[in-house]
């Protein structure tokens, strides 16, 4: 059945072909409008930064970040641009990079990165700008002044992609008052175990040794035990965690925590272990030297007057701690302010600023700063000495040197947990060794970038 249209004729007057819309074209029009809006928002092509845009720094909430905040106005005046620094926890920072840089975000200029944790992956993804020419082509910047181990870790696939700003070694924190009868800090790991066993009174809440026990979190601190027992994560590109040296290191660390450590230690990382020593409930604690100020803070610590600092004790292969660039700075490859970002890095990691920061208690990576005694006065004397000794003996990494560091740490950490929970280490180490070998083959394949 058909009927005449009831539309007013004035409407009909506009019924030119341009005004006739099919159902399909109506939908297409709506889709096209939405698409155009989206595309206009995402349009590519040469983009320049807004002259009023701030230089955006993504950083971890760390003593370094807090310390530089007071110097930022100096830099803002120097470049005539506002600086905006966003502070996150390490995990949040890493996740933010993953989310934002997967979308090629331009709202990050300077990136605080862990050279040993994510640098290879980020370089593989093309997220870090090449800094080689910038660091090497600037005599005043003096790239050669950076300590060799941290400097080497700044290079991935032959290019410099980050600049180290904070270095870290393990420190042996101990109770001077309790160790007087034992002649002071132990020089060897065996001595430390012996004293820990003697001093531990676990039923009454006092422990010989406290340290990280989480599967993944403990791997970095355990690395110094591994090296000092003569082992390594990889040997000639193959898994090294099934070797007798590695198994001995696993068993030693497991026994230390299982027999003298606190309960629930497999759930402990820095945040849980550190307070136990700070509250005077353990004789020994080995962790990063960068956290020493926690034990001198009256708001947290009850061991301000009794804490001592010593170099990493020697194992069967001597004292071989790690000496690593714990945090570095890189430039987001998608940043529209790469020159300003480099100016910031050049300024904050230059000889003058590193010396100023180190004098404020933040260990840097420049040899000139370490050679300047004035920069060490803020550290307790025995801590400065232990840092110097550990830096001399140290290796440049504290975790497997792979793309997927997270997965590698999970594998390497399994025998550690077995040791701590009292299980037999060799079968777990053999299983982890096999898994790690397969992992390394896959990881090497992924490295072709």
């Amino acid at each position: 059945m058909t009927m005449p249209s009831s539309r007013p004729s004035s409407w009909r007057a506009h019924g030119t072909p341009a005004h006739v819309v099919s159902r399909r074209s109506f939908g297409a029009l709506a889709a096209a409008a939405a698409g155009a809006a989206t595309l206009s928002a995402c349009s590519s092509g040469p983009r320049t930064a807004d002259p009023n845009a701030p230089l955006r720094i993504m950083a971890i909430n760390h003593v370094w970040s807090q310390a530089i905040a007071e110097y930022l106005p100096e830099f803002e005046e120097q470049i005539g641009r506002r600086v905006s620094m966003r502070l996150l926890t390490a995990d949040q920072l890493s996740n933010s990079y993953n989310v934002k840089l997967n979308a090629s975000a331009t709202d990050i200029d300077v990136m605080m990165v862990r050279a040993l944790q994510e640098q290879i992956l980020f370089t593989r993804n093309g997220w870090l700008a090449d800094l080689t020419d910038r660091v090497e082509g600037d005599a005043a910047y003096d790239w050669a002044d950076f300590q060799e181990a941290p400097r080497e870790r700044s290079i991935t696939a032959g290019t410099v992609v980050s600049v180290p700003i904070v270095t870290e070694r393990p420190a042996l924190y101990y109770r001077r008052d309790l160790l007087e009868d034992f002649g002071g800090a132990p020089a060897t790991l065996d001595e430390m175990l012996e004293i820990s066993l003697e001093l531990a009174d676990r039923n009454n809440g006092f422990f010989g040794y406290v340290g990280r026990g989480q599967r993944s979190g403990a791997v970095t601190q355990w690395s110094s035990f591994l090296y000092s027992f003569g082992g390594d994560f990889t040997i000639d590109g193959e898994s090294g965690i099934g070797t007798p040296e590695a198994i001995a290191a696993y068993e030693f660390y497991g026994r230390l925590l299982a027999e003298t450590g606190p309960p629930g230690v497999t759930n402990m990382s820095l945040e849980q272990a550190m307070p136990i020593f700070a509250q005077g409930k353990a004789a020994f604690y080995i962790d990063a030297d960068a956290i020493y100020s926690n034990f001198l803070d009256p708001g947290i610590s009850t061991v301000i007057d009794t804490v001592g600092f010593a170099p990493f004790p020697a194992g069967p292969a001597g004292s071989v701690p790690h000496n690593i660039p714990s945090w570095s700075l890189g430039i987001n490859r998608f940043s529209l302010l790469q020159d300003d970002a480099w100016e910031f890095i050049r300024w904050i990691s230059g000889p003058e600023m590193v010396a100023r920061l180190q004098a404020g208690g933040i260990p840097g990576a420049r040899q000139s700063a370490w050679d300047d005694q004035a920069t060490l006065t803020s550290f307790p004397e025995d801590l400065a000495e232990s840092m110097r000794v550990n830096a001399e003996n140290g290796k440049g990494t504290d975790r497997p040197d792979v793309i997927q560091v997270g997965r590698a740490r999970d594998i390497v950490g399994r025998p550690l947990v077995a040791g701590i929970t009292g299980a037999s280490v060799p079968p777990v180490a053999a299983d982890a060794d096999s898994e790690f070998s397969d992992f390394l083959i896959r990881d090497n394949r992924q490295r072709e970038f």
Partner: protein, 323 residues
Amino acid sequence: MPSPTVAETPTATPGPPAQRATTRSGRTALTFEQANRRLKWALLTPSLGFVALMIIFPLLFTLNLSLTDAFGAVNANNAYIGLQNFIDALTDTRRFWPAVWRTVYFTVGAVLLQTVLGLALAMLMRKAFRGMEIVRTILMVPLLATPVAIGILWLLILDPTNGIANHLLGFVGIPPQEFLGSVSQSLPTLMLIDVWQWTPMMTILLLAGLSTLPEEPEEAALMDGANAWQRFRYIILPMLRTTLLTALVLRGVDALKTFDIIYATKGPGGGSGFEAETLNVYAYGLTFDYQEYGLASAVLVLFTIFIVAIVVLLRRRTGRTSA
């Protein structure tokens, strides 16, 4: 009677070609007037676009990613590898299947306990009593806190060395427990934390259901001499079944997805022995710790299928019961 479109009367209206009802391609056409009659669609477009952008696009993107070898960065050149990620996940007895089991164990255990306690509390609060408003307010407190804050709160309470829980247990002669630090106690402890937080939700839902029940059947049973248990078992429970099943579906789906409390208390991988690693925690680790986006997407697709299957089963059950 609705007015016909020009398209329906191609020869009825004389005039220029535009006013006739076909486009140049010969397809059925409509004018702006008719487009206006479809105003509802125009008005719905923003919300439909939002749904497409926020739900359908991520779902399709995840599905697409699950068929690739995406690793490191999602915007890299990823190759299609068919169902390999699904095969890898479904044959993984080291992490995937234990995570499935823990997800089921955690959900069933926590939700059952919440249901029993929630029902008991709802029955107690069914009749007005002095101070009821205060009790209700106190019950709501755990619901108001964020899961991460709750996780940290319980982490401090249950700390084996410095926590107050072991201190209190010491008063009654119970030796210190490791709680979240123990491989065997972690998951049950997390279930109890979940019960502590979400039982009030069950209570509120069931209380709402109880308030709608007619009083006559219970009064009749009382007259017939039925005791309290018999009235509950044979009168109240059957009448409350639909509400109960709805509450179970809502809380069950939510419990399946629990992430915050587990991650805040046990960290990546659900602890040193993966003892609290549920599917959500596993997928998160694959994404953010391992950057294995392809495999992570496959796990998430499987997890979604798993949740949808449970909801459909429970909905069918609810439907049968209602019928």
